[in-house]
Amino acid sequence: MRDLIEIRWHGRGGQGAKTAALLLADVAFNIGKNVQGFPEYGPERMGAPITAYNRISDNAIRVHSNIYDPDFVAVVDETLLHTVDVTKGLSEDGGILINTEKSKEEIIPLLNGYKGKVYTIDARKISEEALGKYFPNMPMLAAMVKITEVMDEERFISEMKASLEHKFAKKPEVLEGNMKALKAALEQVQ
Amino acid sequence: MLEDKFKTENIDETVRWQDLTPGLQIYESGSSRLFNTGEWRVNTPVVDFEKCKQCLLCVPYCPDSSIPVKDGKRLDFDYDHCKGCGICVGVCPFHAITMKEGK
């Protein structure tokens, strides 16, 4: 992993981009990293484009500004590609992850000529198969862990299992679905 | 134990800021008795106990609690605190209280 990884999340109010950023901060913290997870706040509006951020580092993080030149970008809702400049400032050494059922070939032309790595994942399909509902959070989280290499996959799975076991102590069926979604995402991100 | 300097009887307008209580808090009850508002009086109410029927209506009307009551009967005015406002004169149904000029 690099000294400092900066990540920007694009989503729509209510989709859980902020939650995904906080979850990523959580798992990175659990393996001993210094983390920041924060949303860019405005009046909460369901469906409006929102941005959230992560910084992950081995060193103490002091900076408190938003992230303008991220190493990685995650796009939770592909319809944002038409309205938000999601690759703005994005490092070409990094990459962008997009939740879509489309192929990379279909997506790349929508990225304003971005030359870094492009990853796609069908978080809807994974979530609906594993959880029976559309919660893009978990697949997006797993895919981001994989592409940013903040930790190895096995460690990630065991950390998530411990944390979800705690969170869903009374709902084992939810735990199982979530774990399934995480594992599927690790396999299917491309 | 309350420090002597904080006792109300030891506080007057010559006391330095260092010797007043924080926030001017008062740690005694009834300390307003130490302040003789009767000194402000220009006109003085006088009660005629021959006309007074001890209805006690004047007592709650007195804004300065200057009409003492003992064993169900009002006594003479507490002239140390009566400011001479004259409300008692107005409310007495038996015209038993009159104002005289001066203290």
Binding site: V35, H64 | W17, Q18, P22, I26, Y27
Partner: protein
């Protein structure tokens, strides 16, 4: 020993509240401090603390109820932001003049208008003359630590003043970061129990509080209150020293970052200071002698101490995250400017307004400020020293 965690600023302060287990919390929710009464209510519902929560219909009421509870002898707190603090205005002065050591967790947000919910210091700066101690945090760690220290300062017999522990709205309150927490028993022992000398529910002593004061007495009361604020300086330092012995984390009236040999200094409050530190490290690598003075305690105002710490600087940028519409710069500018003059500092000074209504402040913004400082140090301040940073123009 220390507990490593990750938490938002609001979670961190709520955690401190849980560890302190104060007696009474009247509060009315307002963004971005809403989570504080929410977390405390959860602790109470879960039986983790036995604080009495009083739901009220406004912030004027929450502060009034806090005054009542504190006067009764209870360790009391409330939380608010922005317009909520403004609505408390009248009674803030009452809490201070009645010498009640209430703690207020303030999550800084700008005052309307235009209507906005983001970080600015206009709320607490507006209340700077209300007689409350004000301590500011750079991050969640400091917000937690400051709250753990708050009652020790406020309840000290030489002080007996209410205290406002401030953190930046959203930037600190809602951002999850690493934090090191103290064990429950350490906090409990450090804060101790509250045994006020005089209180209304004392069956052995009658008491009257908040009397009308005629001119013959009122000024003396205010002079005594001013003394309490002056005394707070030493108490804040003493409490910080004891806190350092317990936690290993050092606090003063302000923090100096690479300031000792700095030619160019930024003076600022709150979360932007962390960003400034990154800028300073970058500039130092290039040989630029940049430094920071981070104001932690704004009330009492450590003017002389700060002026002395800045004595060798050639140029200083005093940064306000709020306007005071004085046409002359913000409140920190005004007060520190006066202190520099009294101390006969010779530095050129820029009075900078930044970060209004949550406007982001970046490392690059700070680098530009240091560039400007290097320029005015040589050429003097040619245009008005009162400037905006980060505004479109």
């Amino acid at each position: 020993m220390a507990i490593k965690e990750r938490m938002s600023g609001n979670e961190a302060v709520a955690y401190a509240i849980k560890q302190i287990n104060p007696d009474v919390m009247p509060a009315f929710p307002i963004t971005p401090s809403t989570e504080l009464p929410q977390f405390v209510s959860n602790y109470i519902a879960n039986g983790e603390i036995d604080t009495e929560f009083i739901p009220v219909e406004s912030e004027h009421s929450s502060m009034s109820a806090a005054i009542g509870a504190s006067a009764a002898g209870a360790r009391t707190l409330t939380a608010t932001s922005s317009c909520g603090l403004a609505y408390m205005w009248e009674v803030l002065y009452v809490a201070a003049s009645d010498r009640l050591p209430i703690a207020l967790a303030l999550v800084n947000r700008g005052l309307t208008g235009p209507l906005n919910i983001n970080c600015e210091h206009s709320d607490s700066m507006g209340a700077r003359d209300s007689g409350w101690i004000q301590i500011y945090a750079e991050n969640n760690q400091e917000a937690y630590d400051n709250f753990v220290m708050a009652y020790r300062i406020a309840e000290h017999k030489d002080v007996m003043l209410p205290i406002m522990a401030c953190m930046d709205g959203f930037i600190t309150s809602h951002a999850v970061e690493n934090i090191t927490l103290l064990e429950d028993d350490l906090v409990k022992n450090f804060v101790g129990e509250y045994h006020p000398e005089h209180y209304l529910l004392n069956k052995d002593e009658v008491m009257a509080l908040g009397p009308y004061a005629v001119s013959n007495y009122c000024m003396e009361a205010k002079r005594a209150q001013a003394q309490a604020m002056m005394n707070a300086k030493q108490v804040i330092l003493d409490v910080a020293k004891e806190f350092e012995e317990m936690s290993g984390r050092k606090y003063g009236l302000f923090e100096e970052y690479r300031l000792e040999d700095a030619d160019y200094a930024v003076v600022a409050i709150g979360s932007a200071c962390g960003t400034a530190k990154d800028a300073i490290d970058r500039l130092r690598e290039k040989g630029v002698k940049a430094g920071l003075l981070k104001v932690r305690v704004f009330r009492p105002f450590p003017g002389k101490e700060m002026a002395e710490a800045l004595a060798n600087c050639k140029a200083i940028a005093i940064m306000d995250r709020c306007e005071s519409y004085s046409a002359n710069g913000g409140p920190l500018s005004a007060e520190l400017g006066a202190a520099l003059f009294k101390n006969k500092n010779q530095a050129e000074v820029l009075n900078i307004v930044y970060g209004l209504s949550g406007r982001d402040m970046t490392v690059e913004d700070f680098e530009k400020i240091y560039e400007d400082l290097a320029d005015v140090a040589v050429n003097g301040v040619k245009e008005d020293s009162y400037r905006y940073v980060g505004v479109r123009e």
